[in-house]
C-alpha cells in the first residue's frame, strides 16, 4: 500500500532534554526529523532506553511544548496540547481497574467530550469491542482478562475516538511469541479496515518489519534517526509468500547491521566509569 499524500504527523529538527530526578541532564532526542503519511504504518526501532517513547509522548502532548526544541505537529497543527487526532496505546496497557471492558473503551470518548456519552457514541465503543473480538466480555473487569485481551481493550479504547494516527508503545511487549504474531496480523487487518496511520515503537526486529511500511532505526541515546528502511511487501502478503520471506530476511540483516554497533554503544554507556 502506498501512503497517500497528506501528512498526519511530522517532527522536524526535534530535540529534547530532561533532568533526571538526581539532577543529571539527559538528552533523549537529537535533531529528529520524521513524517507519517495518512494511513501509513511507521515502525520505530532502537536500543532500549533510547528515547523512542519520548517521541510518542511529545506527539501526544504529554511533554509540555515549551520543553522541546524543534517542531512537532499533528494534523497540520503544532502540538501545544494533546491533539484530538491521536489514539495512544500504552506499553503497560493502563486499563482503569475499576471499570468494565465496556466502560474502559468508552473512557477515551468520555474524556474527549467532557460529558456522558450519547447512544451513537456508545454504539461506536461497542463496535470497537466487536472489532477486537471481545464481544461477550463487555462486563468483565481488567483483572479477569489475559494480557492479550487487556491489550485488545487498550486498542479498542484508542480507536474509539476514531484517531487518524495511533501511537503504540511496544503494544505487544507482554505477549508470548505466538499470540504476538496473531495479534500483529489482526492489527494490520484493523489498520486496513479503518485506514488509520500508526507509529509503532518496538524492540523486535521482526515486528518492526512485519508491521511497518517504513522502519525508522534510531541510535542509542540521544536518539537520532540512523536510517529509514522501506518495506515494499504488500501487507496482505506479509509473512506468507516465499518472495516476501526473502525480503524480510534481507531487511532483518540490514537492521542488525545498523543496530548492532548502537546496542554495543548503549551497553557501554551503562557500564560504571
Amino acid at each position: 500500500m502506498t501512503p497517500s499524500g497528506s501528512t498526519v504527523a511530522r517532527v522536524e529538527g526535534l530535540s529534547y532534554s530532561y533532568l533526571r530526578p538526581d539532577g543529571v541532564a539527559l538528552q533523549a532526542l537529537d535533531d529528529v526529523t520524521l513524517s507519517v503519511a495518512a494511513g501509513e504504518v511507521v515502525s520505530v526501532i532502537g536500543p532500549s532506553g533510547c528515547g523512542k517513547t519520548t517521541l510518542l509522548r511529545i506527539l501526544s502532548g504529554l511533554v509540555p511544548a515549551s520543553d522541546i526544541v524543534g517542531h512537532a505537529e499533528v494534523a497540520g497543527h503544532p502540538v501545544l496540547r494533546p491533539p484530538a487526532e491521536i489514539g495512544y496505546v500504552f506499553q503497560h496497557v493502563g486499563l482503569v481497574p475499576w471499570r468494565t471492558v465496556r466502560s474502559n473503551v468508552e473512557f477515551s470518548l468520555e474524556m474527549r467530550l467532557h460529558r456522558a456519552l450519547h447512544d451513537d457514541e456508545r454504539a461506536r465503543a461497542r463496535q470497537m469491542i466487536e472489532m477486537v473480538g471481545l464481544t461477550g466480555f463487555e462486563d468483565y473487569h481488567p483483572h479477569q482478562l489475559s494480557g492479550g485481551m487487556q491489550q485488545r481493550v487498550g486498542i479498542a479504547r484508542a480507536l474509539a475516538t476514531d484517531p487518524s494516527i495511533l501511537l503504540m508503545d511496544e503494544p505487544f511487549g507482554a505477549l508470548d511469541a505466538q499470540n504476538r504474531r496473531l495479534f500483529q496480523d489482526e492489527l494490520l487487518r484493523w489498520q486496513q479496515q479503518r485506514g488509520f496511520a500508526a507509529i509503532v515503537v518496538t524492540h523486535d526486529l521482526e515486528e518492526a518489519i512485519h508491521l511497518g511500511d517504513r522502519v525508522v532505526v534510531m541510535s542509542a541515546r540521544p536518539a537520532r534517526v540512523l536510517e529509514i528502511l522501506h518495506v515494499d511487501v504488500d501487507k496482505r502478503e506479509r509473512g506468507r509468500s516465499s518472495d516476501a520471506t526473502a525480503q524480510y530476511r534481507a531487511l532483518q540483516d540490514r537492521l542488525w547491521e545498523v543496530l548492532l554497533p548502537e546496542n554495543e554503544r548503549s551497553r557501554a554507556a551503562l557500564q560504571p566509569a
Partner: protein, 280 residues
C-alpha cells in the same frame, strides 16, 4: 486385573470409589459445621465458668452473669442504659462522620499538593502516633468538661487515619492512568473525579476501619475520665460506687457495640478494598 497397568484404585469398583468420595465430602461438611458452632460454644462455656467463679468470690470483685443480666434489665427499666447508650452512639457517629467529611478531602488535597503536604505531614504523623488519650488533660483545659471536649477528641481520633490513608491513596495512583487522562484531553477536574478519587477509595476504606477502632477507644475513654454521661460515664459511676453488676451492664453493651462497629468496618473495607466485585 490388567497386567501392565498400575492399579491405583486398590481394587475397588467405580461404585465403591464414588461411595467413599461421598463419605469424605459428608465428613468435610460435618467438620465445617462443627467449626462454625465452636465460637458460640466457647461463649457459653465462658459464661458458665464466669457464673461458677463469680458465685464463689466477693460480689465487689466480680458480678455473676445472672446478676449482670438482672442489673441490665433494671437499668433498662430506669432508662439510664438506653439514654446513655444513645449518648455514646451519637457522639461516636458524629465524630466519625465529621472525621470522614473533613479527612477525606483534606488528605486528597495534601496528596495532590506536595508543598502543603511538606508543611503538615510531620505534624499529622506526630499527632497520629500519640494516643489521643494522652492529650485529654490539655483538651480539658482548652475545652472544659462537656460534649464539646468529647466530640473534638473523637473527631481527632477519626480524622487522622482518614487523612493519612487518603493522602497515600492519592499518591499511589498509577501514573499511567493520569497520563491516559491527559492524552485524551481530560481536564483537571475530570482527572480528579474519574481517576484519582476512585483510585483512592480502597485506601479510604482501610483508613475508615482503622478510624473506627481508634474512635471506639477514645469515645469510651474520654467518657470514663470526664463524663457522667454515656456508657463510659455509667461504668465510671458504678465502678466508683463498687456496684460491680451495674458496672458490667454498660461494659457489655459497649463490647457488643464495638463488635458491631468493627464488623461494619470489615464490611466497608472488604466491599471497597478491591475494585472488582466480590466473587459470586
Amino acid at each position: 486385573m490388567a497386567q501392565s497397568i498400575v492399579d491405583t484404585t486398590g481394587g475397588l469398583t467405580a461404585d465403591a470409589l464414588a461411595q467413599s468420595r461421598l463419605a469424605r465430602l459428608a465428613r468435610g461438611r460435618r467438620r465445617r459445621r462443627i467449626l462454625r458452632a465452636l465460637p458460640w460454644l466457647s461463649v457459653v462455656l465462658l459464661l458458665v465458668l464466669w457464673q461458677i467463679v463469680g458465685a464463689s468470690v466477693n460480689p465487689i470483685f466480680l458480678a455473676t452473669p445472672t446478676k449482670v443480666a438482672q442489673a441490665t434489665v433494671d437499668m433498662i427499666g430506669t432508662h439510664e442504659l438506653l439514654t446513655n447508650t444513645w449518648v455514646t452512639l451519637w457522639t461516636f457517629m458524629v465524630g466519625l462522620v465529621l472525621g470522614v467529611i473533613v479527612g477525606a478531602p483534606l488528605g486528597m488535597v495534601l496528596g495532590r499538593t506536595p508543598a502543603a503536604a511538606a508543611m503538615v505531614d510531620v505534624q499529622v504523623r506526630i499527632l497520629y502516633s500519640i494516643p489521643v488519650i494522652a492529650l485529654f488533660p490539655l483538651f480539658i483545659l482548652w475545652f472544659g468538661l462537656g460534649v464539646k471536649l468529647r466530640l473534638i477528641s473523637i473527631f481527632l481520633s477519626a480524622v487522622l487515619p482518614i487523612v493519612i490513608s487518603a493522602e497515600s491513596g492519592v499518591r499511589s495512583v498509577d501514573p499511567t492512568l493520569i497520563e491516559l487522562g491527559h492524552v485524551y484531553g481530560a481536564r483537571r477536574r475530570e482527572i480528579f473525579r474519574k481517576i484519582v478519587a476512585p483510585a483512592t477509595v480502597p485506601f479510604l476504606a482501610s483508613g475508615f476501619k482503622i478510624a473506627i477502632g481508634r474512635t471506639i477507644v477514645t469515645t469510651i475513654g474520654i467518657e470514663l475520665l470526664t463524663s457522667q454521661e454515656g456508657l463510659g460515664g455509667l461504668m465510671s459511676f458504678y465502678g466508683n460506687q463498687l456496684q460491680t453488676a451495674q458496672y458490667f451492664a454498660p461494659l457489655v453493651v459497649a463490647a457488643v457495640l464495638s463488635l458491631l462497629m468493627y464488623w461494619v468496618g470489615d464490611i466497608v473495607e472488604r466491599r471497597f478494598s478491591a475494585w472488582r466485585p466480590a466473587p459470586a
